[in-house]
């Protein structure tokens, strides 16, 4: 597994292909790509700044990946998150999960994104026509993460 936190852009297609490279035991790859939108919460967004907590970011993402690997039989996991300045249309985050069968890959990818949204120390600041604003955390994200709690 690998966790990357980087300012530079990435190519989602190349990341997906790399999930399968040189491992013919992989029967399923599920990926998620998150993009910067040009509109949020009633305002046009012209740019975004991604702040993070260096050190903890990598540690938190690593823990999420380890937990996913404990819950599902996974062959490869990649988490890539950008930091710094981004423009609408740019990819922010990539999560790739490879497994022998699809269900584990689907579920693990979903789980990793739900946990990343609520446990990884990133903060978005949007540039809008009405000035800059910090994006507020969503209750729906917390509820999405809670559904993975072991009951």
């Amino acid at each position: 597994m690998a966790v990357r936190v980087q300012a530079g852009a990435f190519d989602p297609g190349a990341e997906v292909n790399a999930m399968h490279a040189a491992n013919v035991g992989v029967g399923a790859v599920v990926s998620f790509v998150g993009y910067v939108r040009d509109f949020n919460d009633g305002l046009e967004v012209s740019g975004m700044l991604l702040e993070h907590y260096p050190g903890m970011t990598e540690k938190a993402l690593g823990k999420i990946v380890v937990e996913a690997e404990q819950r599902w039989p996974l062959l490869k996991v990649e988490v890539l998150h950008r930091i710094g300045e981004l423009e609408p249309g740019e990819p922010i985050v990539f999560v790739g999960v490879a497994s022998a069968h699809r269900q584990a890959a689907f579920d693990a990818c979903n789980f990793i994104m739900d946990y990343l949204k609520t446990r990884a120390p990133f903060w978005k600041k949007e540039q809008t026509g009405a000035g800059e604003r910090w994006v507020e955390g969503k209750t729906s994200d917390s509820q999405a993460a809670d559904r993975w709690d072991v009951r």
């Binding site: 907590y53 050190g55 540690k59 949204k117 609520t118 446990r119 990884a120 990133f122 903060w123 910090w134």
Partner: protein
């Protein structure tokens, strides 16, 4: 004891600093927060009901114990992804 306290995003801006060394006696993260809240003014953001915190770069609850040399972080709910 001396600990390092760090702030992020909206809190970092409100306090005008990334972090600071803090000397005193703190049993828990909550006691650190209470000490900072006593400064009043912009520090009142630490009274947010949805505040998040971490000890030594692991998410924790406010009742987490604190030891000398620890790094304690306070930040608003995370919004990555």
């Amino acid at each position: 004891m001396t600990i390092k306290v760090v702030y992020f995003a909206r809190y970092r801006e409100a306090m005008g600093m990334d972090g600071e060394e803090l000397a005193g006696t703190f049993a828990t993260v909550e006691e650190v927060r209470q000490e900072l809240l006593e400064r009043g003014g912009n520090w009142s953001v630490l009274g947010d009901s949805n505040l998040m915190c971490a000890r030594n770069q692991d998410l924790c609850k406010l009742n987490e114990p604190v030891a000398d040399g620890d790094e304690v972080a306070f930040f608003p709910p995370v919004t990555g992804g």
